[in-house]
C-alpha cells in the first residue's frame, strides 16, 4: 500500500529524478511536473496527497502556483526554497503552503517534513463531542472542515483544521507556541514562530468576523495563543 501520492514540481530534472527515486524507495507514489502550469494541469485530472513545490521556477513561479492551487484545493503543500530568510518563509506560508524546506536539504529532513505534513491529529475533534460550532455569527462545521462567516464559506486546509481542533480541545487556556507547534506539526518543531503567526492569521481570516480584531483566536503576548470559547 502506498504511503501517499506525491507530486514533485521542480524545473531541475536532476532534483526531480533524485526526489522521485528517494520517495518511491520509501513507499510513496510519485509523479513529477516541470513547471507550475504543468502541475496545475495534472492536479485537474489526478488527486494527490501532497505537493512538493519549488518556489523559484520560470513561468508561473511557486508562490503563484501555490496561490492558484489554494484557491480551489486544500491539498498539503511543502515549498522548496533556496533562501533561508524570514521574508521568504513567511511569503511561502502566506501563499498557502503548509511547510517549507530550504535547499539543499537532507533526505531524512525532507521525509520528516513530509510525514509531519501528512500527519493528522490522532484525536478528531468530534470525538470530544464537537461536531458543529456556532458562535456569534460564525458557523464551523467540523466534519466537512468548513467555516461560514457572514454567509461566506471557506474550507480549512488540513493543517489549519488541526490547529483549530487543538485550540477547540483546549479552550480558554493560553497555549504556548512550542506546545502548539509540537502538537500540530510534530516533535521536530518548536522554534518556528512564523508558522504560527501565518497560520493563526490564515485561520482568523476564515473564522473571525473581523480578522483584524479577533474575538475567538486571541494572542497572549510573549506566551502564546488562546481560543476564547464563550460558555
Amino acid at each position: 500500500m502506498s504511503a501517499g501520492r506525491i507530486l514533485v514540481v521542480d524545473d531541475d530534472p536532476q532534483i526531480r529524478r533524485a526526489m522521485k527515486s528517494t520517495l518511491i524507495n520509501r513507499g510513496y507514489e510519485v509523479s513529477d511536473s516541470r513547471t507550475g502550469e504543468e502541475a496545475l494541469d495534472r492536479l485537474r485530472s489526478e488527486t494527490y496527497d501532497l505537493l512538493l513545490l519549488d518556489m523559484n521556477m520560470p513561468g508561473t513561479g511557486g508562490i503563484e502556483t501555490c496561490r492558484i492551487i489554494r484557491s480551489t484545493s486544500d491539498i498539503a503543500i511543502i515549498m522548496l526554497t533556496v533562501n533561508r530568510t524570514e521574508k521568504d518563509k513567511v511569503e511561502a506560508l502566506d501563499a498557502g503552503a503548509d511547510d517549507y524546506v530550504t535547499k539543499p536539504f537532507s533526505t531524512p529532513e525532507l521525509l520528516a517534513r513530509i510525514r509531519a505534513t501528512l500527519r493528522r491529529l490522532p484525536q478528531a475533534p468530534d470525538e470530544a463531542g464537537l461536531r458543529q460550532l456556532i458562535l456569534g455569527g460564525v458557523e464551523i462545521d467540523l466534519p466537512s472542515r468548513q467555516a461560514t462567516v457572514r454567509g461566506r464559506t471557506s474550507r480549512l486546509t488540513a493543517k489549519e483544521f488541526d490547529l483549530l481542533s487543538y485550540f477547540l480541545r483546549h479552550p480558554n487556556k493560553t497555549i504556548a507556541h512550542r506546545e502548539l507547534l509540537q502538537a500540530v506539526w510534530g516533535p521536530d518543531y518548536g522554534d518556528e514562530l512564523e508558522y504560527l503567526r501565518v497560520f493563526v492569521n490564515r485561520l482568523r481570516k476564515k473564522i473571525e468576523p473581523e480578522p483584524s480584531k479577533p474575538q475567538f483566536l486571541l494572542t497572549d503576548a510573549w506566551a502564546g495563543y488562546r481560543f476564547h470559547l464563550p460558555h
Binding site: 531541475d12 528517494t22 533562501n83 539543499p104 537532507s106 503576548a221
Partner: protein
C-alpha cells in the same frame, strides 16, 4: 533720477545696504542714459541727439509757420492767433518731448508778443490786459507741455514694466522647460542672456561648483569674475566690478546662498532683478532636487540588481547541490541500501563536501547582503535565554557530544533585536568555538546584564588568540593560524560583526594564548512598556 522714483522697499533676502548699492548703481547708469536703457544705448547716443535736434527744429518751424501765416496771410484778431499757438504747443508736447514743448512755448510767446500784440513789431505791450493774456498763454503752454511730457514718461515706464514682465515670463518658462541634456545652470545662464539682452552673464552653481558663461560679449577678466562669483556666494553679499558696470549678486533660497550671478550692464528695475534671482534660485533648486532623485533611483536600481544577482547565484549553486545532497543523504540514511563500509565512507565524503559548499554559498550571500545594506532589522522584544537556546538547538548537529553549558539568568531584561540575525551571530560563535577547541573540551554560552546592555558571551577552552591576531579575526576571510586546516571560509566573524553593528552595538574578544577565548557582544535592552 527716474530710477529713484521706481525704487521699491528692499526685497526679502537682500540686505538694505546692498539694496542701496544696487539702486545707486542703477541710478548712475540711468542718469547717463534716460529712458529704458540697455547695453546698446551707448552706441545710439549720437543718433538720439540728432533726433532731438530734428524734433526741436520741426517744432520751431511749426511756430514760425503759424506766425508767418497769420502775420502775412490771414488777418484775425490776436486772441485767435494766441489759440492757434496754444494748439500748436499742445501738438508739439504730445508728439515731442518736454524740451521741444518748453522751447516752443517761450518762442511762441515772444512771437505772439512781437508780431500780434500792439504795439506790433516791439516786445513792449501797451494794453495791461494783454500782459495778462500773454502770461496766461505762457502758463497754459508750459503746463500743457509738462502734463503731456509726464503722461508720455508714465507710458514709457509702463511699457518698460510690461517688457520686464514679458522677459521674466519668458525666463520662467525657459527655466521650467530646461532639459537634462545639459547642465541646468548652463541653460539658465543662456536663457537669461537671451531674455534680457544682457551682453554677458556668468552663473555660479554652488551645488556643482561650476561657473557657466553666456551672452554675446565676454567679461574682460573671466578669472576675476570667477573668483568674485564664488566670493559673493560664500559671503552672500553683492559685489561690483568697477571697470565695466558688472553687478555680482548672490542667489539665495530661503536665506541660504546657493549660487551667484554676474551680469554686465544689467539696467533693470530692482524688483525685476530680484524676480530674476528668485526664478534662477528656484530653477537651480529644482535641478538639484531632480539630480538627487535620479541618484537615489540609480542607487535603488543597483541595489535591486545586486539583490537579483545574489538570488540568481544562490539558486544556481544550490540547485545542483540539492540533488547531490538528496542522493548522498538518501544513501546514508536508508537502511535498505546495502552499502559496504568503504562505500559508506566515500559517500560520507561527498555528503560533507556538499554541506561545506552549501555553507560557503550561504555565508557568502549573507555577507554580501549584510554588507550591501540589503537587510532590514526586523526588531522585536526577545528574551536573551530563548535566543540562546534557539541558537543552541540550531547548532545541535555541530555540538553533538560536546559539554555545552548555558549560563543565562532567567531574570535578564529583554532585548530589542532582530531574533533571526541575533541567532545567526550566536550560531556562528558557537560554531567557531566548536571548530577551534579540542574535541570534548567544554563550551560555555551565556548572557548577563551590564550598563551597556545585555552582553552575550561564548567561551571555549581552545588554544586562545594572540593580541596581534585579535585585531584581525573580525576581518573578512581571515582565519586563525591554528585554523588554517579547518573548514569554513572565514566569514562567520565578519558576518557576526556586521549584524551586531547594525544593532548599534559591538562585538569583541577576550583571549590570550593557552587560556581559551571568550567572544562577547552587547545588545540593546528593550524599553519597558508600562502596560506589561
Amino acid at each position: 533720477m527716474r530710477r529713484a522714483l521706481t525704487i521699491n522697499p528692499p526685497v526679502k533676502g537682500i540686505l538694505a545696504w546692498e539694496y542701496f548699492e544696487v539702486r545707486k548703481r542703477c541710478s548712475n547708469a540711468m542718469a547717463t542714459w534716460p529712458g529704458w536703457t540697455n547695453y546698446s544705448a551707448s552706441k545710439n547716443f549720437p543718433q538720439k541727439v540728432m533726433r532731438s535736434t530734428l524734433r526741436l527744429f520741426l517744432a520751431l518751424s511749426l511756430v514760425a509757420t503759424i506766425t508767418l501765416v497769420f502775420f502775412r496771410g490771414i488777418h484775425v484778431n490776436a486772441t485767435s492767433v494766441g489759440f492757434f499757438y496754444l494748439v500748436a504747443i499742445l501738438v508739439i508736447a504730445t508728439t515731442g518731448g518736454l524740451l521741444e514743448a518748453s522751447v516752443s512755448s517761450v518762442v511762441a510767446m515772444l512771437c505772439f508778443n512781437f508780431f500780434f500784440l500792439p504795439p506790433v513789431g516791439t516786445f513792449t505791450i501797451a494794453d495791461p490786459q494783454n500782459w495778462v493774456a500773454l502770461f496766461a498763454f505762457l502758463t497754459t503752454a508750459l503746463t500743457a507741455s509738462q502734463l503731456s511730457a509726464r503722461l508720455k514718461r508714465q507710458r514709457a515706464q509702463a511699457l518698460d514694466r510690461q517688457r520686464e514682465m514679458e522677459r521674466l515670463y519668458t525666463l520662467s518658462r525657459a527655466i521650467l522647460l530646461t532639459d537634462t541634456a545639459q547642465p541646468t545652470a548652463k541653460q539658465i545662464a543662456h536663457q537669461m542672456a537671451q531674455a534680457f539682452d544682457w551682453p554677458a552673464v556668468a552663473l555660479y552653481d554652488r551645488n556643482t561648483s561650476e561657473v557657466y558663461l553666456a551672452g554675446p560679449e565676454a567679461f574682460p577678466n573671466v578669472v576675476d569674475i570667477d573668483a568674485k562669483l564664488r566670493e559673493s556666494a560664500i559671503l552672500s553679499r553683492v559685489l561690483h566690478e568697477e571697470t565695466d558696470d558688472t553687478l555680482i549678486t548672490p542667489i539665495r533660497l530661503g536665506g541660504e546662498p546657493i549660487g551667484s550671478l554676474a551680469v554686465k550692464q544689467a539696467f533693470m528695475s530692482d524688483t525685476a532683478l530680484q524676480s530674476v534671482l528668485s526664478l534662477v534660485a528656484v530653477g537651480l533648486e529644482k535641478a538639484r532636487a531632480q539630480e538627487e532623485a535620479n541618484r537615489a533611483q540609480v542607487a535603488r536600481q543597483s541595489e535591486e540588481l545586486k539583490s537579483t544577482l545574489l538570488d540568481a547565484i544562490a539558486h544556481e549553486f544550490k540547485t545542483p547541490l540539492t540533488s547531490i545532497k538528496a542522493v548522498t543523504t538518501d544513501l546514508l540514511s536508508n537502511p535498505q541500501q546495502s552499502l559496504s563500509q568503504e562505500q559508506r565512507g566515500l559517500v560520507t565524503i561527498a555528503d560533507e563536501g556538499a554541506d561545506r559548499l552549501a555553507r560557503l554559498v550561504t555565508e557568502a550571500i549573507q555577507l554580501a547582503r549584510i554588507e550591501g545594506g540589503k537587510f532590514k532589522l526586523n526588531r522585536g522584544v526577545h528574551f536573551p535565554s530563548s535566543l540562546l537556546s534557539t541558537a543552541l538547538r540550531q547548532t545541535q548537529f555541530l555540538t553533538d557530544g560536546r559539554a555545552l553549558k548555558m549560563e543565562a539568568d532567567e531574570g535578564l531584561p529583554s532585548v530589542l533585536v532582530d531574533a533571526e540575525l541575533t541567532q545567526m551571530v550566536i550560531s556562528h560563535l558557537i560554531e567557531n568555538a566548536v571548530k577551534y577547541s579540542t574535541p570534548g573540551s567544554p563550551i560555555v554560552i551565556g548572557a548577563l546584564a551590564t550598563e551597556r546592555g545585555v552582553v552575550f558571551h561564548i567561551t571555549d577552552q581552545g588554544p586562545g588568540i594572540t593580541q596581534e591576531e585579535q585585531s584581525r579575526i573580525f576581518e573578512k576571510f581571515y582565519r586563525g593560524r591554528v585554523g588554517q586546516h579547518l573548514k569554513g571560509a572565514g566569514m562567520g566573524l565578519a558576518i557576526a560583526r556586521e549584524i551586531v553593528r547594525a544593532h548599534g552595538e559591538d562585538i569583541w574578544v577576550e583571549s590570550s594564548p593557552g587560556k581559551g577565548s571568550k567572544f562577547c557582544f552587547s545588545l540593546p535592552i528593550a524599553p519597558v512598556e508600562p502596560n506589561r
